[in-house]
């Protein structure tokens, strides 16, 4: 580890912390329906859209109606994206002449983009036409992110409202997120990326002649616009197969920093929106602090493991950290930092190959996802995810102060506990069960590039990434087989909707409750004690669930490496 490396990490954290308040304030006003800087331009468009859709910002929805709207919208998105892929050969904007995507892959990809996962069992430049990339994938990049934010806002309303029947209007929340938050920020980011040299063209691929005289086809496309939303919306699906390691997606240190910041920006700001909506910004800071603790520990371990390198390689006389699979223009610190950010948030973009990380370095991204992507997390998804843990933490701790547990004046009772446990349960269900089947299924084992614990980690990582809606791949696993296309798709659906629906149910149940005023008998949820408690609960619940699987994966690999044992 170097001072320079740590400065990079701290500069990142510092800038992010500065972004939280202004962005939080802006989003708070947007979702409260207050005037903002962009209102003069956007309000007429917003109103027009509501008229078209036959709704209005005054219309409020019961949680079940909200959930039904969200499900229908996502189903429609899935069908359109599936159809676009299957029919791309007959559709325009296809200069490279891509043919129809086969059904299994099309299903997997459609689910993947609708659930904000962006797991890619394909290489973008060799599979998808410009039309599919723009009208299919990029559109889902936007709306899947907006869906996540809408759900988070609805859940926040559950805490903020008292004795209410409704939790907002899905269509309004979705529209506002798109119009006021995602689109303006993406336009700015796209321009910045173009300025930094990222291509933005509808022209065909370019042929170049190398020094050796060989012909090389250089893939281009509307890259900058997709990168903007891919990071901001924590989608992570690369335009190119190499994702953010590709120089056209992520040319230099500045673009790398901006991309890392935009991954966390909305997720971190949502904690501030939460604080403002419930009437105490400190409540939001406490949650962000819990995320921050888990994040920094992850970064420290990952950076340390990568910087320490592999003793077996050192024995061959090659000093230094582990540079395998990393871009020299980013180096170890920025690669480790990127890996932790992209897996803490459910982004899944990669600027280095996680498969090539050391056992412990690669375990951190795995753990980040297994904890349910609650360390800032996917836009919206991370926030409603961590609130599920908050419910459990507050329930147990609340009892210990001798009261029926309550959070922000809302009593946490059987219904909330049930829903939170359902949401927490569905992740290990998808991650562990599918992994358990895959590692003994001969056809699935055949897809692994490595044997031993590393091969195990590849499969575990794949299902973990899918269920956590991350989308990053450990690499090494050839996922484009019917088995993986289908099961990973199911994992993504479980990890997305089996968390969203309980979260909305909690929102509905909480909104209907009275708000109990805080007293000296209620324990404060805006201090270090709460931060420690929440971190403890997340680690213990996550750790207990996944310890056996980590033990036979990265942990045994690491221990074996120390003893000089390879596989």
């Amino acid at each position: 580890m170097t001072i320079n490396g740590w400065i990079q990490i701290l500069v990142y954290c510092g800038i992010l912390a500065l972004l939280v308040k202004p962005l939080g304030f802006y989003m708070y006003r947007v979702f409260s329906g207050d005037r903002t800087l962009l209102s003069p331009v956007l309000v007429p468009i917003e109103r027009g859209l509501y008229r078209l859709a036959g709704t209005s910002e005054k219309e409020e929805q019961h949680w079940a109606v909200y959930a039904a709207g969200m499900l229908l919208f996502n189903l429609a998105g899935f069908l359109v994206l599936y159809a676009l892929q299957r029919l791309q050969g007959a559709l325009p904007y296809n200069p490279a002449g891509m043919t129809a995507v086969e059904p299994g892959l099309a299903f997997n990809t459609a689910v993947s983009f609708v659930t904000n996962t962006n797991w890619q069992n394909y290489g973008g430049e060799s599979t998808m036409s410009y039309l599919v990339q723009m009208a299919g994938l990029t559109v889902q990049n936007f709306v899947s992110a907006a869906t996540g934010v809408a759900i988070a806002i609805a859940l926040i309303r559950g805490f903020a409202r008292a004795s209410g029947k409704s939790i907002g209007n899905f269509w309004v929340d979705l529209t506002r997120c798109m119009l006021y938050v995602l689109l303006p920020l993406c336009i700015v980011l796209t321009l910045v990326y173009v300025w930094l040299g990222i291509p933005q063209t509808l022209g065909p691929y370019v042929d170049a002649t190398t020094l050796e005289g060989a012909k090389q086809t250089i893939a281009l496309g509307p890259v900058a616009s997709q990168i903007a939303i891919k990071m901001l919306g924590t989608n992570g699906g690369g335009f190119f197969n190499a994702n953010a390691a590709h120089p056209f997606e992520n040319p230099d240190a500045i673009s790398n920093l901006i991309q890392m910041l935009s991954i966390f920006a909305i997720g971190a700001a949502l904690t501030n929106v939460f604080g403002r909506m419930v009437g105490s910004e400190r409540q939001g800071w406490a949650i962000l602090a819990s995320m921050g603790v888990l994040f920094l520990v992850g970064v420290a371990v990952c950076y340390w493991a990568e910087a320490a390198g592999n003793p077996l390689v050192h024995a061959l006389g090659i000093d230094g950290g582990n540079m395998e699979g990393k871009e020299t223009r980013f180096g170890i610190a920025a690669s480790a930092l990127f890996a932790v950010i992209t897996t803490a948030a459910s982004c899944g973009a990669v600027n280095a190959m996680h498969d090539s990380f050391t056992a412990l370095g690669g375990m951190i991204p795995l753990i980040n996802m297994q904890l349910g992507e609650v360390i800032v997390g996917g836009v919206g998804a991370g926030f409603y995810g961590i609130l599920m843990f908050v419910v459990v933490a507050v329930f147990v701790a609340g009892l210990m102060v001798g009261r029926t547990p309550e959070y922000l004046g809302k009593k946490i009772e059987a219904k909330e506990v049930k829903m939170a446990m359902l949401a927490i349960l569905c992740l290990p269900l998808a991650m562990l069960i599918f992994t358990a089947i895959a590692v003994v299924l001969p056809s699935a084992v055949a897809s692994m590039a490595n044997g031993g614990p590393h091969g195990f980690a590849e499969v575990l990582y794949a299902y973990t990434s899918a269920a956590a809606n991350n989308g990053s791949a450990f690499g090494g696993l050839s996922g484009n087989t019917p088995w993986y296309n289908i099961t990973l798709g199911i994992g993504m659906l479980m990890g997305r909707f089996l968390v969203i629906i309980p979260a909305l149910a909690i929102a509905g149940s909480l909104a209907a409750k009275k708000t109990v005023p805080a007293s000296a008998g209620t324990f404060p949820t805006d201090g270090m004690l709460f931060v420690g408690l929440l971190v403890g609960v997340i680690i213990i619940v996550g750790g207990l669930t996944f310890f056996p699987s980590l033990a036979v994966g990265p942990i045994v690999e690491h221990l074996a490496m120390i003893h000089g044992q390879t596989f």
Partner: protein, 697 residues
Amino acid sequence: MSQSKSASIMDARILVPAIGGAFRKLDPRTLVKNPVMFVVAVVSLLTTVLFVRDLVTGGGDLGFTLQIIIWLWFTVLFANFAEAVAEGRGKAQADSLRKARTETQAKLLNNGDRTKFKLVPGTSLKVGDVVLVEAGDIIPSDGEVIEGVASVNEAAITGESAPVIRESGGDRSAVTGGTQVLSDWIRVRISAASGQTFLDRMISLVEGAERQKTPNEIALNILLVGMTLIFVLATATIPSFASYSGGYIPVTILVALFVTLIPTTIGALLSAIGIAGMDRLVRFNVLAMSGRAVEAAGDVDTLLLDKTGTITLGNRQATEFRPVTGVTEQELADAAQLASLADETPEGRSIVVLAKEKYGIRARDMATLHATFVPFTAQTRMSGVDIDGSSVRKGAVDAVLAHVNQATVAAHGTRPTGDAIRYLQAVADEIAKAGGTPLAVERDGRLLGVVHLKDIVKGGIAERFAELRKMGIRTVMITGDNPLTAAAIAAEAGVDDFLAQATPENKLSLIREEQAKGKLVAMCGDGTNDAPALAQADVGVAMNTGTVAAREAGNMVDLDSDPTKLIEIVEIGKALLMTRGSLTTFSIANDVAKYFAIIPAMFAVFYVAPGQSTGPLQALNIMHLATPQSAILSAIIFNALIIIALIPLSLKGVKYRAIGAGSLLTRNLLIYGLGGIIVPFAGIKAIELIVTALGLA
């Protein structure tokens, strides 16, 4: 029922029957009520069946498997035992109560006639029947005294041997079946049919027969089931992981891991904690009609406390005589004493005492004075005497003023002079501001002055309220006094707020207001007019001395009729919730050490490098447990024994301390969270040393 029954936890009379109870509770119909322990029983049964199969076919390492199975069953039995012990303590009380419910003969009266009765068995009485109970008789069933006064021995219920007075009218009219009339006679209208009397309800409550899961218990059970499911996933996937890694894990080992991971500790003790919470109240001579009420007590935000008897000593005392101009103190004292001669209230008696001590006025006999007593009524709000055409009255200042006004106008056609009235009102205000009660005295339409009655605030009560404030509970004093008097006493006692000139209606609306703000309200009351408020309050504690209506409306009954107990009731409720939370935390924290015991043992044979005896995961064996068998066996033994070790704590409860929620949480997190991580490391290692020394594994 009082202190004598605080049976020690280690009482053999409870423990021995509880062992039998532990086996009886293996009945699946009983077990299924406790999901976590039911799951343990199911997997224990599974391993037992597999063991029998192996016994027949001759599998390997049967001795070790047998030991695991034995300890699995012990885990279930220990949980049953905990519940049986908790119930056993209630049973002991129920038995002593049953002795009171002996067959009685009732003297059933025909309507109207108070002397003619026929003897019928007590069990045949119907609601509405009127019975005569005379000295020496056992009161046959619950009821209300409709005529007469008697001293009653209620020791059977309260454990208090000093007799209490029960009389018709007023707030002391309820009598309880099974108690005994010591002197005089009363006529009682029966209010409970046989089998539904207070005593019957008490018996079923302390026995836990009617126990239903409380809302918080249900929520906690959901959490525990959720945790269990998570560990189903964690363990059920291991065989596949093991197979991939080139190993094999026997079912017994998997079951051992699973049982140690699922929250068996809290699962085993949960119902014992609930029963013990009710039991603690009973020991405290408070009967909760439901477990829900006990939980609600822990959540109380606002306490409504009656001033009299709770905050102040039951009776106000006369401390000075303040005559108006032109009247001597002696004259005022004389009149006040006359008016109070026949007044049996503590206030009246204190006036007589003060007149004697300060002015040497001796007690006079009403009969020789030819005086007739005019008792206090709610309409006149005055009492006094009439002597030979002369009248003396004392009472509330405004009532006496109105009376004087009327008398003067009637006699002279003029109103009384303003000076005396102004002076009287000034003095009255001054007394009221100081927290006293002014009592105006007049004779034949002439204002004489004011008696200063002072409320004596109970010693130490201000500290109790400060403690409640630290618990986050707001105290509201309820009093019939005027706002001035109320404010002064409120300030002296240190309550947060007060409701002056309280009527049943504004008491009820105060409760509703607080509840609308999302607060939980507790109150106690005894009179019939308290019934609506008692029913509305989240925790309504009725005094045992109170009326039948009050007792029916409340969800708790205080057998000692001590309103200060509300504070302890809140603490007991809090202790109940805290015990649950603390043991849940402890139970889950324990899993860390158990993983470190079992995972290395299970996975030790994976990826063994050439020339090595164990695989790389042996490095996780940080407790240096000798063999995989000894590690697994000691983990499962620890898991079972910790249940037994925690029975006393779950019965006694984690003590509530009024140190603020944050500090309390820190403290409990350190003890049960951090302690829960550390203790099993030490415990498993210690057990393993014994297991290895004995050669068990």
